[in-house]
Structures are given as structure tokens and as C-alpha cells.
Symmetry: C2
Subunit: 144 residues, 2 copies
DNA sequence: TGAATTCCTAGTAAATTTGTAGTATATTAT
DNA sequence: ATAATATACTACAAATTTACTAGGAATTCA
């Protein structure tokens, strides 16, 4: 039941972008340096966020990424779902397509649905702005 | 954020044992056949449950496993934690030892703690007896 | 004694995660 | 124009975890 580095790095990445939201476009390189994360790996993660329009980019010198909205308009849940794929504990609950076709009355499915709902409720109640505030208050912890 | 087959198989295994709770010791072989799960793999999973005294065993002919308590006295959460290791979304929240020593004020740790609490609350509120009742009502669905 | 069964240790194949590498393309400053 | 700086894209590779498989020792019962 682990969150992967993709999701965790994405939160740090987005928090970093939020903190520098008034500094124009921010390069992956500078984020990678500050957060001590592989530049190339960050590139792949931010691509997922860009595809879903959570961030926008420009190429070339002075290029980089920036948020498309205000930090308070993002939830942690949304960031995690874009990067982790889904927070569902079983594949059967993954996006629309197949809620377990041949097995609508699966005994355990309802449990996984409750778990998913509970997780979503938590992560959807926390905004990116909250992370920014905490970060400014507590310092730049990057372990979890 | 997936539950592995270990946890899912464990639920089916325990439900199977609960349904046959008055039939004496139940062999792995018979469970494996009914549930269509590898015998050897089940053996490893049930070992985890035996170590924590959720089931007891006897060897030899007519041997096998049985529950140590009534089905209503087990929660799904307990079964999952024994087999999955922990339901924590990050390693920092894993069992006592290190709640992130060098980083007590990790920005995201508190989010993961809330997620863990929410998950535990759900799975701890469901008993094995509930799974048995549902199974008897709905039939032997084994997909999730 | 022999069949059935758990107990124990190791190995292994497949899948997933976590990156690396290299090149093409675009933008800006000089 | 050209050089420097970035993203965009594709492919590959190492490391880790998951999901099994294999084989034999120990135990129990008929």
C-alpha cells in the first residue's frame, strides 16, 4: 500500500513551483538541485503534470515550468492521482473502464471501494497552499 | 497504492477457514483447490498468519489449519496488516522503530499519517464474520 | 510402515519502480 | 547567425519487489 516516489516527488515538485510562483518560469535543473532529485526523472514526472495541465512550460533559455493556477486551487489528491495513476487499492476500481465486469457482487470489492473513498477524502481535503504554508513554517524537509 | 495478492489471498483464505470452522483442521491443499490459488504460495501466506496466532495448525494426516477465534473476533485490518506488513503509505510510518528520526517536522508526513488512519479506520471496522455473511449471500466471488 | 500434511529454506521468473542516456526541438541573449 | 539554455521525446537499464516454484525434513495418524 505504498505511495511511489513519483507521487512523493510530485508533491515536492509542485510545492517548489508554488513557492517560486512569482519568479517566472522555473527550470527542472533548479528544482532538481534544490530538491536533490534526478533531473531526468523529474522531467518524466513533470511531463505527467503538464499533460493534465497542472503546469505549463516554455522551452529555451529562461524557460521552464510554472503553475497554471493558484496554489490553493490544487489538492494533494489531484496531484497524486495524476502521477500515481490512481489511488485505488485494487485494479478493479481503476478508472471507469472495468469495475469488475464479470463480478459485480465481489465480496471484497466493497471494502476496497470504502478504502479508496477514505483515502480520496483525506488527500482531497488538503491544498497545495497548505503544503507551502507548512514548508515555510517548518523548513525544507524532504524525507517522506 | 495497491494491496498485493498476499493480502487479498489472505482474506479469501481466512474467509474459507471461517466458513469451514466446524470441520476440524482444513488442509492447505483443499483451500488451494477451492480458491484456485497456488498451494505453495498459500503455505507462505498462512505461515504469516500462524506466526501471529491468527490460525493454528497440526501436521500429519488429517492435519491442517483452523481459526483460533470466532470469525467475528477478527478484523479485515488485522488480517491485512499481518500479511501486507503495514498499510502505511510511506516507510517512515512503518512500525514504531523510525518515525522519521531526522525529520520530525516533515511537511508531508502528517498527510501520510492521516491517510493511514483513514485506511485503518475502514478496515478495522469490518469483521471476518461480515465477509462470511456476504460470501454466503452472494456466492464465491474471487476476483478482487 | 506409509500416506498425508505442515514446516523450512532457497531459488527464480515476471513485473514494476526508479532511474539513465542521447538526441531533437525550441527560445533567448549576444 | 550563433551559442547557450531549456524542454520534448524515445528508448534502454538497473534495482527492487512481487508472485510464485522446488525440494526435502519433520510430524501425525491409520
Amino acid at each position: 500500500m505504498k505511495i511511489s516516489t513519483k507521487g512523493r516527488y510530485a508533491l515536492r515538485l509542485m510545492t517548489d513551483l508554488a513557492i517560486h510562483k512569482d519568479d517566472g518560469y522555473i527550470s527542472i535543473k533548479s528544482i532538481a538541485t534544490r530538491q536533490n532529485i534526478s533531473e531526468k526523472y523529474l522531467e518524466q514526472i513533470i511531463k505527467l503534470l503538464a499533460k493534465e495541465n497542472l503546469v505549463e512550460s516554455t522551452r529555451g533559455a529562461q524557460g521552464g515550468y510554472k503553475l497554471t493556477r493558484e496554489p490553493i486551487e490544487y489538492t494533494v489528491g489531484e496531484i497524486l492521482r495524476v502521477t500515481e495513476g490512481s489511488l485505488a487499492p485494487v485494479a478493479c476500481l481503476e478508472t471507469d473502464d472495468n469495475p469488475c465486469e464479470n463480478c459485480m457482487d465481489c465480496v471484497t470489492l466493497e471494502i476496497w471501494q470504502c478504502v479508496l473513498d477514505a483515502v480520496n477524502k483525506v488527500v482531497d481535503s488538503i491544498t497545495l497552499q497548505y503544503l507551502v504554508d507548512k514548508q515555510k513554517e517548518k523548513g525544507n524537509c524532504i524525507c517522506c
